[in-house]
């Protein structure tokens, strides 16, 4: 457990003091490398070694025979693949970029707060084996920030695994490459020449490189601002060197980057609804740099205790399993592959544990509750009181909340997020509805259901607000589930666990967790609930506790998700022939929810429209074998096990049936919202 107090200092502070940052940017660098090698490997050396290695040479031999192509031709292909992949390192570019970034961040951020003692701790462990930086991925800014911080803190700037989408951006691609990015195609075909080369390149960097390697275990930026299920592809390529004992150990450093305000918040909100993501282009990027005029508040950067692969896997695998063939012909075994998810999940968990909850996260929850459950809007004083109250709850469940003086923090947060939340003329805190300008070009090609323009404009602010609730949810989800269950009826511990298990497993994609942790998390959550009076023990049974307000706030956090899952099940059950393609599901679910949104009698959370939630639901149902997923050429098909779906749906029913008392309470706010819109 991280016992040390977490303490963040603004990396930009000393940069602000300097008259010019030029000296800083051009200072003599002696960065801490990850894995000190007897021979320092330069970028070109890595590419040459990959080409020369027996693995690639043998593949060329085979392919040239199979395809009857001259070996030189294939070799040239490998060379050009390597040129496409390979990172570069231009100190000049790094320095200029550092300088520019400091200029920009000084302008748009209130600070880049880093946990320096954590960084020092990690640095002290570097040098003896490959070190892998694994940051959370919430924004494109992650890339740049990581490198900026390494540059500033005298750590070697990592070789960064980046998607090919960047590669295409003119100027951008080259710049990223020059600062250490290497590129990976996203297509998963069986182009064996490409993939063998790519894997070998990663292997080369791990075994012979001295730089840290950085990759995003979530695979892509999380549009929801929640952690995504870890992907196993790259971590597997990296771990190969460890399982083959080609390196002494590998240290994985989970890193959390928390943004007070995400650069891409609006884009993400649209994407969640199905408005396609604009293709990455440099002009698009710079357009989004109109951002320059705005304020983005604080950024928090924290490194978790490095996880040693050697310690983590301990005696769990056969250490001499790879001894009987030439080392270059060895691949990771199935048994070894099976060990990887646990590590990947541990990394994500540590990323979550090191996130910083900002005042605006609290505001978002309080406001959300206010809008949905209470009769009238709150004033700022009320908001401050509630923020403080919520802070206590979150701290009780282990969150790290960064607020010093509440009033100040609230005002600062409102300033940063004035595009979402504002204080109206009467001093009431409310959402900003009328500023959403839709980009006409994109509306026509919605990914799923053709949501109406009104729906879009109504929903976007709510979704943006939800983006700031989401990162808090992994602290609350377990308690929320328990409360939601006990709101229905009192239960014995075993019954409670049974139901908890059902919901937690169902939401395991949504709120990333690993099955082996379930029992432990249940127990911790139960204890927290008792402590917070969310739950009480009455003889042999558990029931809801005395603090009704907390219960509503906490359980309210997951209502929207459960609702979507419920609708997904309904839609699936409507399918007549038992097979349905993904696009149809997405469309029908959104259509259904949009229809309900427009009904007057119940308030449905707009975030229920999120395609992310719908896909998560489908993934979970597939994992539980209730759906069978197959890929055809341009679509994904689901074969439905109706009994299974029905069972899930009926278990969810109790959580979504609107209660009457709630409806009446809601009416006023509903009206309020309607008129406002």
């Amino acid at each position: 457990m991280s016992a040390a107090p977490r303490c963040y200092e603004d990396m930009l502070a000393s940069r602000r003091e300097e008259f010019s940052n030029f000296m800083w940017a051009s200072r003599h660098l002696k960065p801490q490398v990850a894995y000190q090698q007897e021979r320092r490997a330069l970028p070109q050396y890595h590419k040459d070694e990959v080409l020369k290695c027996p693995k690639i040479q043998e593949l060329l031999e085979t392919l040239s025979q199979q395809q009857n192509v001259a070996r030189e031709v294939l070799e040239a292909q490998v060379k050009s693949i390597l040129d496409e992949i390979g990172y570069n390192k231009k100190l000049k570019v790094i320095r200029w970029l550092g300088l520019a970034l400091v200029k920009i961040t000084k302008k748009i951020c209130s600070g880049i707060y880093i946990n320096r003692s954590a960084i020092v701790h990690v640095k002290a462990q570097m040098g003896d084996c490959p070190v892998i930086f694994v940051p959370s991925h919430r924004s494109y800014a992650d890339f740049i920030l990581m490198s900026l911080i390494c540059f500033s803190e005298d750590m070697a700037i990592p070789a960064i695994a980046a998607g090919m989408d960047f590669h295409g951006m003119w100027g951008m691609g080259t710049m990223l490459r020059d600062t250490g990015a290497f590129f990976m195609r996203r297509t998963y075909n069986n182009d064996s020449l490409y993939w063998t080369t790519f894997k070998q390149y990663v292997y080369q960097l791990v075994t012979k490189g001295d730089l840290p390697i950085e990759f995003f275990i979530e695979g892509t930026r999380s549009r929801s601002n929640k952690s995504l299920m870890p992907k196993y592809g790259l971590i597997l390529m990296i771990l190969k060197a460890f399982f083959l004992s080609q390196v002494p150990d590998i240290l994985f450093v989970p890193i959390n980057i928390s943004y007070e305000r995400i650069l891409e918040e609006k884009l993400f909100a649209f994407e969640l609804l199905g408005v396609p993501k604009p293709k990455e282009s440099t002009s698009g990027f710079f357009k989004s740099l109109s951002i320059m005029k705005e304020k983005y508040g604080a950024i928090y950067f924290d490194m978790a205790q490095p996880i040693s692969a050697k310690q983590f896997f301990g005696a769990k695998f056969n250490k001499s399993g790879h001894n009987l063939q030439p080392i270059h012909q060895q691949e990771i075994t199935e048994e070894e592959k099976k060990l990887i998810p646990e590590l990947a999940h541990e990394i994500v968990l540590q990323q979550q544990k090191h996130c910083v909850i900002t005042t605006f996260n609290l505001i978002a929850i309080v406001l959300h509750h206010n809008l949905f459950n209470e009769k009238s809007l709150m004033g700022v004083d009320d908001l401050c009181t509630q923020v403080l109250w919520l802070k206590k709850i979150l701290e009780a469940v282990g969150a790290f909340v960064q607020t010093d003086d509440v009033r100040n923090s609230v005002f600062e947060a409102l300033e940063v997020h004035k595009n979402i939340v504002r204080v109206d003329e009467s001093g009431k805190v409310t959402l900003v509805w009328n500023q959403i300008v839709l980009d006409k070009a994109n509306i026509g090609k919605l990914k799923a259901h053709n949501l109406s323009e009104t729906t879009l404009t109504t929903c976007v602010p709510f979704i943006m607000l939800q983006l700031y609730i989401n990162p808090v949810l992994h602290y609350l989800v377990d308690c929320a589930i328990l409360v939601a269950i006990l709101k229905q009826q009192a239960l014995t511990p075993d019954e409670l666990f049974g139901r908890y298990h059902f919901l937690r497993a169902l939401l395991s994609q949504e709120f990333v967790t690993f099955s082996t942790r379930e029992k432990m998390e249940f127990e911790v959550a139960l204890e927290n609930c008792l402590k917070l009076n969310l739950v009480a023990k009455n003889g042999d049974v558990y029931e809801t506790g005395s603090d009704k307000k907390s219960q509503d706030v906490v359980s309210g956090c997951i209502d929207g998700f459960i609702f979507t899952y419920f609708v997904v099940c309904s839609v699936l059950l409507q399918s007549v022939d038992g097979v349905i393609d993904e696009k149809t599901i997405l469309t029908r679910v959104q259509a259904e929810i949009e229809a309900r949104l427009n009904e007057d009698n119940a308030f449905i959370h707009p975030y229920s429209l999120s395609l992310d939630t719908i896909t998560n639901c489908l993934t979970t149902l597939s994992n539980e074998k209730i759906l069978v997923k197959t890929r055809s050429k341009n679509s994904i098909l689901y074969e439905i096990n109706p009994a299974g779906v029905l069972s899930v749906k009926s278990k969810l029913e109790e959580f979504v049936a609107p209660s009457h008392s709630l409806q009446t309470k809601l009416e006023s706010i509903q009206l309020h919202l309607k008129t406002k819109l």
């Binding site: 007897e38 021979r39 003896d128 075994t207 004992s245 250490k319 001499s320 030439p326 080392i327």
Partner: protein, 603 residues
């Protein structure tokens, strides 16, 4: 007991031609050998408090009686050693403090009646209770053994052994064969749980060269002959066995066979399995041997390989026919320095690929290279490096990083013309890997130090530093990684055990077609460590795990003994273990040879 009678008629013939060897190491070993450390009593590193310098005593080795001005500073700096306080060894324990021999009067009488020299004196038993592991030496110096042999016997011929084995088998006693006592696997140590009478069968008085066959170039020797005696005697006749393990001054022919030893010059002469033409092993079931002395035999599985590596647990090796070679006309040393270890290793690989190894070719890593320099008499470290490298230093060495460079040492044997050709080839290969010839002296010193380095541990222990070595064999494609990983692993373990001052370095000592041998040295300051032997054991154990994970073996030549038993089953498979146990059960049903090496025989 079948098999015994048949052999007696050979006896007369042997006596005529036999060479009675006057051994450098007498029956009473302590006349010349230390009781609590390595080697000769008169040869040791000592710290001269007045001059604040370390010196090697005696004139047996070229390094003797010269000042080594750099060592103290280096050790102080690198090990935080404090030469002002020493941790001296205890004195040799008085006779009445040894455990009483566990032997019945009846059995003792039977032994006396064999007519074989024997003793139950404490010191004699103590001296044969151990090999040369850190554990044993530390115990000798600072505590005491739980179990030592109960009686020592000195048979003088094959027949003596037969009688003795029969007696032990009939009377439920244990025999542990003892050769030179140089084992570094705890192979000669008594199993603590053994309650039966333990007989230490010292082979040292069974050390004749029974005959020399100049036509076939073989010699038949009794197993107790030690390396230096064998070489000296053969040399007188114009021959050499060419078998030179680093311990050859004290280790015995029987010991080599029993542990599958490997000599420095194996490239020219072969390892013990190549040298051995015929062997006799006395087991409780009879004598295992062949009816011919032929260069090769296709006759089912080769039982020589049951004898070799048996580590005293199947029987006593009594007579061995080994190959001999005419003495080479010339011997020449050489050395090449490389900018880094990887270059050196690649060069080794290339030499092996071209199969042009000289008698010995070794590669020291930077750590060992530096250590070698420190054992040079001279004025300054820098000056020392220059010495011998002088000529080319000025022009070329500037490109070398003193913190990375490493040295390859070479030993050539043959006639002058042959050596010239060999040299040319090696230096040319060296050059393609960035290597530069660094002179004969550097090479020669490297080999000389091999014999001296074993003495250094005794001094180290005195100043609270433990030192030990371990070795492995590994395929070429995994060698470099193995070296790196093991060093990292040891460094990591040391750090996590709170050991700040330690040293781990390695060298490649042998090359083969399919791989090479890596030899590691490990040392650390144990001032703040409660149980240094245990901690060392822990570290070495982790290192061995790492070795195995990197594709290395349990051992190339030290053997399994007791300290590496843990890795034996995985090495040879479950079936392999059962096969060994079945053999054991057949040859030694009563577990007379209950030394407990390799696997625990549940008999």
């Amino acid at each position: 007991m079948a098999g015994y009678k048949k052999l007696v008629h050979d006896q007369g013939k042997q006596k005529e031609t036999a060479i009675y060897v006057n051994s450098t190491v007498p029956k009473n070993r302590l006349e010349v050998l230390k009781w609590n450390g390595w080697g000769y009593k008169d040869s040791k590193f000592i710290y001269d408090a007045e001059k604040k310098e370390v010196r090697f005593t005696g004139r047996r080795y070229p390094i003797g009686e010269v000042q080594l001005p750099l060592l103290v500073g280096w050790v102080t700096e690198n090990f935080d050693a404090d030469f002002s306080v020493s941790k001296p060894s205890q004195q040799i324990p008085p006779e009445d403090t040894f455990p009483k021999p566990r032997i019945s009067d009846e059995n003792l009488t039977k032994i006396a009646n064999l007519g074989i020299s024997y003793s139950t004196k404490g010191v004699e038993r103590l001296v044969r209770a151990h090999g040369q592991t850190l554990h044993s030496i530390y115990t000798l110096r600072y505590s005491s053994f739980e179990r030592i042999p109960d009686v020592v016997l000195w048979p003088t011929c094959h027949d003596d052994v037969i009688k003795l084995v029969r007696l032990a088998d009939d009377n439920n006693m244990v025999i542990i064969p003892f050769g030179g006592g140089t084992a570094v696997s705890s192979a000669v140590d008594c199993p603590i749980m053994e309650h039966r009478t333990i007989i230490s069968l010292d082979t040292s008085q069974m050390n004749r060269i029974l005959w020399v066959d100049r036509e076939n170039l073989v010699a038949c020797c009794e197993s107790g002959i030690i390396g230096q005696d064998l070489e000296r005697e053969l040399r007188k006749l114009g021959f050499t066995s060419g078998h030179e393990p680093d311990s050859y001054e004290f280790s015995s022919l029987g010991g080599w066979v029993a542990t599958r030893a490997s000599g420095m010059k194996k490239n020219t002469y072969g390892n013990i399995e190549d040298l051995l033409v015929h062997v006799k092993m006395v087991t409780p079931k009879g004598v295992l041997e062949k009816n011919c002395q032929v260069p090769r035999l296709s006759s089912g599985p080769d039982f020589n390989h049951v004898v070799m590596g048996s580590e005293g647990s199947l029987g006593v090796i009594t007579e061995v026919v080994i190959k001999i070679r005419p003495l080479p006309a010339c011997q020449k040393f050489g050395s090449i320095v490389f900018p880094d270890f990887e270059s050196g290793l690649r060069c080794m690989r290339e030499v092996a690929k071209q199969r042009c190894q000289p008698s010995s070719i070794r590669l020291m890593d930077n750590g060992q290279f530096a250590l070698g320099m420190l054992l040079k008499p001279g004025s300054s470290y820098f000056g020392l490096i220059l010495d011998g490298l002088k000529k080319f230093y000025v022009t070329k060495i500037r490109g070398f990083d003193v913190k990375k460079m490493c040295v390859m040492t070479l030993l050539f044997e043959g006639d002058e013309a042959d050596i010239k050709v060999q040299e040319k080839k090696i230096y040319a290969i060296g050059a393609t890997f960035g290597g530069m010839p660094a002179g004969q002296t550097n090479g020669e010193r490297g080999y000389m130090l091999t014999f001296v380095i074993a003495y250094i541990r005794d001094l180290a222990l005195e100043y609270e530093i433990v030192a030990e070595s371990f070795e492995t064999s590994v395929p070429w494609d995994r060698a470099l990684v193995l070296c790196n990983n093991v060093k990292q692993c040891v460094a990591h373990e040391c750090k996590s055990l709170g050991i700040d001052y330690f040293m781990i370095n390695c060298r490649v000592t042998q090359t083969y077609d399919a791989g090479c041998v890596i030899y590691f040295y490990l040392a650390f300051n144990y001032r703040d460590v409660e149980d240094p032997v245990e901690v060392h054991h822990l570290i070495e154990s982790k290192a061995r795990d790492e070795i195995v994970a990197c594709g290395g073996s349990i051992s190339h030549h030290h053997g399994v003994g007791k300290i590496r038993k843990k890795w034996y089953p995985d090495t040879v498979s479950r079936v392999g273990v059962d096969l060994f146990l079945a053999t054991k059960k057949e040859l030694d049903p009563n577990n007379v040879f209950g030394v407990g090496n390799l696997v625990q025989a549940k008999l």
